[in-house]
């Protein structure tokens, strides 16, 4: 999650400030990871890398990197849209008050962009948590993996699958609720409504 957020922020800034060369690289990165399934990305990291580069990362590392890269591409779009939603005249307004460009960004643009990006950010977090369900494919012990294990041991398929759903809800509902609370508070703190 943290990796995804950091990657996303970095990628969004590159796009917002239209940094040459890096911008094209970021564009390719975002489109590549947004438009391919996580499962394939994980397979590539876990089974592909050892062949190509001769390094074999652990399943955990693969999971983190894979999810981080995928999340980063989604977060990048969320943050970029937030930044772009703040009118350019706001920057001019800040500049006309004698602020330097970094000051204008810090005090005027970023706070507004953060509030605007928040809903998409929370949605992405939830999406990423759910995506962990494919980790079992690279023998990572995620919920899905554990559930399959239990099904194999006790052959109570329905019960175990129900458990699985409940567990996902237990993890994600609080995130979801927390997210909307943060969202509302941020909006109130930001725009007074």
């Amino acid at each position: 999650m943290l990796l995804a957020t950091l990657l996303g922020l970095a990628a969004a800034f590159v796009q917002y400030f239209k940094i040459p060369v890096l911008r094209q690289i970021v564009k390719v990165y975002i489109e590549l990871f947004r438009n391919t399934p996580l499962l394939i990305q994980l397979f590539f990291l876990y089974f592909g890398l050892p062949r190509v580069l001769g390094i074999s990362p652990s399943p955990e590392l693969c999971g983190v990197i894979g999810l981080g890269l995928l999340g980063g591409s989604y977060m990048a779009e969320a943050f970029r849209s937030g930044l772009e939603a703040v009118d350019n005249v706001q920057t001019e307004s800040a500049l006309s008050l004698g602020m330097t460009r970094p000051q204008a960004l810090r005090y005027v643009i970023f706070p507004q962009a953060a509030a605007i990006s928040m809903p998409a950010f929370v949605a992405n977090i939830i999406f990423l948590l759910k995506e962990t369900s494919v980790f079992s494919a690279i023998s990572l012990m995620d919920l899905m993996f554990t559930a399959k294990d239990l099904i194999g041991m006790y052959s109570k398929t329905v019960e175990c699958l129900a458990m699985l759903v409940v567990f996902y809800l237990i993890i994600l509902l609080p995130v979801s609720i927390l997210g909307s609370v943060v969202e509302r508070r941020l909006r109130r703190g930001s725009f007074g409504d």
């Binding site: 005249v89 706001q90 001019e92 307004s93 800040a94 500049l95 006309s96 008050l97 004698g98 602020m99 330097t100 000051q103 005090y107 005027v108 706070p111 507004q112 509030a115 703190g189 930001s190 725009f191 007074g192 409504d193």
Partner: protein, 262 residues
């Protein structure tokens, strides 16, 4: 007029040329603004009035000539532009208050972060100004809770609290309902009375006449006429100015003596 020559020159624009690609917006503008003077710039839309203000504030790169404030060149790319902009208080057509900050935070942000002034001193100054424009009770409101006229008055106070040498007004009443225009213009009139140096772009002709020391008529990117307000409004010397001014008066079309068989 003789007295004005003795006054300190604040702003000097010398053969300014501004173009977007091949489109020339300002051709050859020269203007000197003395301390305490109120210059009103009028002209048809697209004549370059707003661009002129944006150039003065260093928000637009210029293609020729020079603009200097107290002998320091204004250049949007230079390092000390932020320093110079503190002396230029700009008020925008659409207020451009910061929506995520309260009225008081909006006003105090730049004095505190840019000028590093004492918080109590700035707060007092802000509250004094808010009181003068009749908005002290709104100091903890957010911009979205204010009317257009109130927002614009806050924007004026925000610019004033930076203690600028010159105030620049860019069609500040153009987005307002008629009854709110008055409350904003009254604030500007009071500033003029107090001797503030201002460059005002406006479409409010009677206001222009009341507030101006000099009127600048801009058309096609050049200064067509520059005159005292009484002279300009009563006896414009160019056809272009006459034509422009006539767009603000209407001839009655429903006279009662119109022939019945019309």
């Amino acid at each position: 007029m003789a007295g004005q020559l003795l006054k300190e020159t604040l702003l000097k624009i010398d053969h300014l040329r501004k173009a977007y690609g091949d489109t020339v917006v300002l051709k050859d503008i020269s203007l000197t603004v003395h301390k305490g003077e109120v210059i009103v710039v009028i002209g048809p839309s697209g004549c370059g009035k707003s661009t002129l203000l944006r150039c003065i504030n260093g928000l637009e790169p210029i293609q020729g000539g020079s603009i200097t404030l107290q002998d320091k060149p204004i250049d949007g790319q230079s390092k000390d532009i932020a320093q110079i902009r503190q002396k230029l208080g700009m008020v925008f057509q659409n207020y451009e208050l910061f929506p995520h900050k309260t009225v008081l935070q909006n006003i105090m942000l730049a004095p505190l972060k840019v000028q590093k002034r004492d918080k109590e001193e700035v707060r007092q100054m802000a509250e004094q100004w808010l009181e003068r424009v009749g908005l002290l009770d709104k100091k903890d409101s957010y911009p979205r809770q204010l009317s257009g006229g109130q927002k614009q008055r806050v924007a004026i106070v925000r610019a004033l609290c930076m203690e600028p040498e010159i105030m620049l007004f860019d069609e500040v009443t153009a987005a307002l309902d008629p009854e709110m225009v008055r409350e904003v213009l009254d604030v500007i009139l009071a500033l003029a009375k107090a001797g503030r140096t201002m460059v005002i772009v406006t479409h409010e002709m009677s206001f222009a006449r009341a507030v101006a020391d000099r009127v600048l008529f801009l058309d096609g990117g050049e200064i067509v006429e520059e005159a005292l307000p009484e002279v300009f409004f009563d006896h414009p010397s160019t056809d272009r100015a006459k034509k422009f001014l006539s767009t603000f008066t209407y001839d009655a079309v429903r006279h009662h003596d119109v022939p019945q068989n019309y």
